[in-house]
């Protein structure tokens, strides 16, 4: 579904490459965590998939297309097969939840009846039914992220890219978002999630690709986040997350020791347990 072949990305001549000879394959339907310190190349990885950047060297294949050589006018059709979720939600503040989700379909020219049918369905799936008319400011962080996820998946993309989707959320809310992403993944959508959230990665036990200074240093099928000291040497053991644009930031909720906090009652990886909501895996969530 996503294939990086010896991909390097250099932003400025002479600078250290953001990605250095990276080769990785993501299969259809996989759930992959992308971990690494800030500046390790996670965001570059995602922006290459989105064709916001072109690789300096190597090839990037997304859904069977050579993204590096994709002409500009074909980029929109590539992006219609991708959904993106960000740490800061990026909802349009002057539109309601419904309008935000509908916007994604309107701007690609979907007919009105399709929008009328699909949007409520997706809002229900992400657990926002009854909140269609709320403005983003009237929602909690978790609800805003659900709305953003609804917008990302409303066009039934093959791939969902999530750039630290839980970075702004408290642990309980993060759990809900992860359950949602897991459900989306079970419908056949490939999910690539860049994250610093070690607890989530450790609980989910999915494939983990670790980047360090632009190189892949680890690729485990059922990986854990790894040791904080090693991945985030500047931060160390203290549970501190970084936020975009502000370097590192302390998240007060994480400062409280929570020894008993678990995402799930047992230590089983999420994938091996009962799905949160039993749905037969299919090509798209709406068809289940």
């Amino acid at each position: 579904m996503i294939r990086f072949q010896n991909v390097s990305k250099v932003y400025a001549r002479g600078a250290r490459p953001a990605l250095d000879d990276v080769s990785v394959d993501v299969e259809r339907g996989e759930f992959v965590f992308l971990v690494g310190a800030s500046g390790s190349g996670k965001s570059t990885f995602l922006s290459l998939v989105l064709r916001e950047q072109r690789p300096s060297r190597g090839h990037v294949y997304v859904a069977g297309r050579d993204v590096a050589n994709l002409s500009a006018w074909r980029v929109p059709s590539l992006r219609r097969q991708l959904g993106v979720v960000f740490q800061d939600f990026r909802l349009l503040q002057n539109k309601t939840v419904y309008e935000n989700v509908a916007f994604a379909l309107q701007v690609i020219g979907k007919p009105r009846h399709v929008i009328r049918d699909t949007v409520p369905e997706v809002l229900e799936m992400v657990g926002l039914n009854g909140k269609e008319k709320r403005m983003p400011t009237e929602l909690s962080g978790g609800e805003q992220q659900r709305a953003a996820i609804a917008r990302a998946i409303v066009n039934r993309p093959q791939i969902l890219l999530a750039d630290e989707p839980t970075g702004n959320l408290d642990p309980t809310t993060s759990l809900g978002i992860m359950r949602l992403l897991d459900r989306i993944n079970r419908t056949g959508t490939t999910v690539v999630m860049a994250t610093h959230d070690d607890e989530i990665v450790n609980e989910m036990r999915r494939r983990v690709v670790e980047l360090r200074t632009g190189e892949i240093v680890r690729d485990e099928a059922r990986g854990v986040y790894g040791e904080r000291e090693r991945i985030l040497p500047d931060v160390g053991r203290s549970p501190v997350l970084d936020a975009p644009g502000s370097g590192t930031r302390v998240v007060p909720a994480r400062l409280v020791p929570q020894p008993e906090r678990r995402l799930l009652p047992d230590r089983q990886p999420l994938a091996d347990r009962q799905p949160l909501e039993r749905r037969p895996a299919g090509p798209a969530f709406g068809e289940a």
């Binding site: 980029v75 929109p76 219609r80 097969q81 990026r90 701007v107 917008r151």
Partner: protein, 303 residues
């Protein structure tokens, strides 16, 4: 859906940027008024030429009794010389000259008396003081040079004169006014392009979040840019409509209702001419917006 969406985006964009949009409308209004004025001046020149060139002729002044011209050394032009000239005109200039009219000294005096019934500046003149001439009506007034070449220097011809030369200073003045108007128009058009560029840029920046989402969900380039294009174009077209309206009013009240009443023997531009250049102004307006969009959109709403 698409159309409705684009229209609502355009409306919200225009509303968000009202002051800038008003500025664009006004600047295009002024600049296109200059463009339109230049066009109307040229139309006026065309009308005067059509009108007057039909009336004016080439005068072949025949030798009077005392002339210093070498061709007139033999004294006043004789009937034979006049006939010879007419023969030349009939043969060598048959294509260029449509009509020949012989104005005798008596005819000239009759004209003179009609114009100055009380004598000219106190002197009483007679028919003998007048000069006989051949008045030639040309098939194409532009062929004056050929006629002059053939007839100048022949015996009995003192001088060949193109009456069109009388109008040259007027046309020169009108042409200079056109140039001035076009020059001002060029400066104003540049200002309009810059202003539209800035407006589109502001609009694009204020809607950056929307366009970013549009790009990410795979909206086509055209779809992302169309609202901005339309905003610029709409403002510019509004300016052109105002300019056409302004010119129409100017022609109506200054030319039709005033000039035409006071100096009625001249053909003037009319409201119909304004309507004829209105589409041209609109095309210029859309062109301005297109140029401005071209330079802005690729930078601010790139995929």
């Amino acid at each position: 859906m698409r159309l409705q969406f684009v229209v609502s985006e355009v409306v919200s964009g225009l509303r968000r940027n009202t002051t800038m949009v008003v500025a664009v409308v006004l600047v295009t209004f002024v600049s296109l008024t200059f463009v339109g004025s230049a066009a109307l001046l040229q139309a006026q020149i065309g009308k005067l030429k059509d009108d007057w060139y039909d009336l004016v002729e080439v005068s072949v002044f025949l030798c009077p009794t005392s002339s210093l011209a070498p061709t007139c050394a033999a004294g006043e032009a004789t009937d034979e010389q006049i006939e010879a000239l007419q023969a030349v005109i009939g043969t060598e200039l048959s294509g260029e000259v449509q009509q020949v009219y012989v104005e005798s000294k008596e005819d000239a005096f009759a004209d003179f008396e009609e114009r100055y019934p009380d004598g000219y500046q106190g002197t009483q003149l007679t028919a003998e003081d007048m000069q006989a001439s051949l008045r030639l009506k040309l098939a194409d007034p532009g062929q004056y040079g050929v006629v002059s070449d053939v007839l100048s220097g022949r015996a009995g011809v003192e001088v060949v004169e193109d009456q069109r030369a009388i109008f040259d200073p007027l046309f020169l003045a009108l042409n200079r006014a056109t140039l001035l108007s076009a020059g001002l128009a060029a400066v104003m058009l540049l200002a309009a392009v810059l202003l539209i560029t800035t407006t589109i840029r502001l609009s694009a920046v204020s809607r950056r979040k929307e366009t970013e989402i549009m790009r990410l969900v795979g909206a086509s380039n055209l779809f992302v840019q169309l609202p901005f294009l339309l905003e610029g174009a709409l403002a510019a077209v509004a300016g052109s409509v105002l300019a056409s309206g302004g010119l129409w009013l100017a022609v109506r009240f200054l030319v039709t209702d005033w000039l035409e009443q006071s100096v009625s023997w001249v053909a003037y531009v009319s409201e119909a001419d304004v309507l004829a250049i209105a589409p041209l102004l609109m095309v210029v307006a859309v062109g301005l917006a297109a140029i401005a969009s071209f330079f802005t959109l690729n930078r601010y709403t790139r995929i």
